[in-house]
């Protein structure tokens, strides 16, 4: 079987700047020497949870783990229970951290202080079939489902996306993003894009709109911003003065055309959207101001099976049905028509209501409970109806925080005597709203 060896990074030479950390420039030579020294010091294990918040240290950890043939696990959130479940299943599992984290149930391995600078080692390269990372989604029955990405899948997807995003004019670009790198989008469009295109990646993630533009203003051109519709909307605040950019990449939820237009005008750069999911990886792109149709990446095939649309192909991490309603159009293009009923997407974090309900009902003292999505306000949020005579809202929130991502915590909890279940045990939405 053809199993090519693919390099960890594709920067021009050892002096190329690969990261910028609070203004400090980090060369490829320093990055590689830190990778080698960390790889030598990592505990004996087959898997590692990489919790590093700094993108430079996260990347050092990712490549060092690959050199040791350790698979990097990226849980969907910092909630304690899913991580403890992983640790229970693998006694050698440990977490690589670069700042204090409140986690018990897993050994922590703090990122060691910078080692002595040795001569730059060769750029490591890995077989395409080597297991690189495992991302997690929430299954409908309450357990976290693992999704493996091989090194070849990560690199292939990055190359296929770059071809469609027209990055050829952006050689040596600097890059920053507002999304976490432990999720699919950030891993692909910040870490992998940067490593595989010789870019300079900002090590810190800016938070407020004023932080984002302040960081962008200090970056050399050409510069790219990787972001979400929520952050783009906050950047359109008239009081925020933004420097010109050269490319914007947006994902997590479809962007409205008028917001895309406003962003292109204010930031003076083309804006591309990426459509993808944790199960498959990157699937399609569109230049939102030109078309509402998505164009599949080379190496991705979409086909209708029964009443679902499946994504598969040479760059797909795994063939999978998609959680959105999709209308296939001509020439490898499609339209997004919304989410399937059970799926929710809060700020790019997808889950199913069935999963969240199972987590709610697993809390001792909760006799019955259900989440309802409320679309009022700028971001959709959840509300919970709960039958739990012995518990209060603070207790339920604390228990949920151990189990699910903070984005899915209910905005409010209504305590009721019973849920209006019908004869089939189902909960009609109208009956819930009447509570």
């Amino acid at each position: 079987m053809h199993d090519p060896v693919l390099p960890a990074l594709r920067h021009v030479n050892a002096d190329s700047v690969i990261f910028r950390d609070h203004g400090e420039l980090i060369t490829v030579a320093r990055f590689l020497s830190e990778v080698v020294s960390l790889a030598e010091g990592l505990p004996v294990a087959t898997q590692v949870v990489n919790l590093c918040a700094n993108r430079y240290r996260f990347s050092v950890g990712l490549i060092a783990a690959m050199m040791r043939h350790q698979i990097t696990l990226l849980p969907a959130s910092l909630a304690e229970k899913p991580i403890k479940d992983l640790a229970d299943a693998d006694p050698a599992l440990y977490a690589l951290t670069d700042e204090p984290v409140a986690l018990s149930g897993i050994p922590l391995f703090p990122f060691p202080p910078t080692a002595d600078r040795r001569a730059a080692p060769r750029i490591p390269a890995f077989r395409a079939t080597q297991a690189a990372v495992v991302l997690f989604t929430s299954g409908s029955t309450g357990e976290a489902l693992p999704h493996l990405r091989t090194w070849g899948a990560l690199v292939g997807s990055t190359q296929a996306a770059a071809q469609k995003l027209d990055l050829s004019a952006l050689a040596g670009a600097s890059l920053t993003g507002t999304v976490p790198h432990q999720h699919s989008f950030g891993l692909e469009s910040l870490i992998m894009l940067s490593l595989q295109h010789g870019f300079t990646l900002e090590a810190t993630r800016p938070l407020f709109p004023a932080d984002i533009v302040a960081q962008l203003a200090t970056m050399a051109r050409p510069r790219l911003l990787v972001t979400t519709p929520i952050h783009l909307r906050s950047l359109m605040d008239v009081r925020i003065k933004a420097p010109p950019l050269d490319q914007i990449i947006c994902a997590t939820a479809p962007l409205a055309t008028d917001l895309a237009l406003a962003a292109e005008q204010k930031l003076q750069a083309p804006l591309w959207e990426i459509y993808g999911c944790t199960e498959v990886g990157q699937i399609a792109v569109r230049r939102t101001v030109h078309t509402d149709r998505w164009t599949c990446l080379d190496g991705i095939e979409l086909d209708a099976r029964a009443d679902e649309i499946w994504a598969s192909g040479t760059i797909a991490a795994a063939p999978s049905p998609l959680g959105d309603v999709i209308e296939l159009t001509a020439d490898r293009t499609f339209l997004l028509k919304g989410r399937k009923a059970d799926m929710i997407n809060i700020a790019g974090k997808r889950s199913s209501l069935a999963y969240l309900n199972s987590q709610l009902n697993a809390i001792p003292g909760v006799e019955d409970g259900v989440f309802v999505l409320q679309e009022r306000g700028p971001t959709p949020r959840l509300k919970a109806y709960v039958v739990a005579p012995s518990l209060d809202a603070a207790h339920i929130n604390a228990a949920l925080r151990q189990r699910v991502d903070a984005a899915f915590l209910p905005r409010s909890i209504d305590f009721v005597e019973a849920l209006p279940r019908n004869m089939l045990g189902k909960l009609p939405l109208d009956a819930l709203r009447a509570l």
């Binding site: 918040a53 810190t204 800016p206 709109p209 929520i230 906050s234 009081r239 009022r376 929130n397 905005r411």
Partner: protein, 85 residues
């Protein structure tokens, strides 16, 4: 709670459609994660509302440094300090 803290609590509750009883809030009530229970998406909305109402742009060195959201009082005094006069 000072009048400024009370106004700020009201602004946050209205901006985010929070189901939070303002009578339970004090100057010490945390905003981020605990107390008001805001997350990183919420504080973008709050930053926008504060920019519009007070002309103040919120800043933080990075996402792990959200000291100004440690309490209602901390955010109110940040706004008072940075408010254009």
């Amino acid at each position: 709670m000072s009048p400024a803290e009370n106004d700020l609590a009201r602004l946050i509750i209205e901006t985010l459609n929070l189901d939070f009883d303002i009578a339970l809030a004090t100057g010490d009530t945390p905003l981020y994660k605990e107390g008001f229970g805001l997350d990183s998406i919420d504080i973008l909305e709050v930053a926008l509302a504060i920019s519009q109402h007070h002309g103040v742009k919120l800043r933080s060195d990075d996402e792990n440094n959200v000291v100004i959201f440690s309490s209602l009082r901390a955010l109110a005094s940040y706004i008072e300090e940075k408010r254009p006069r």
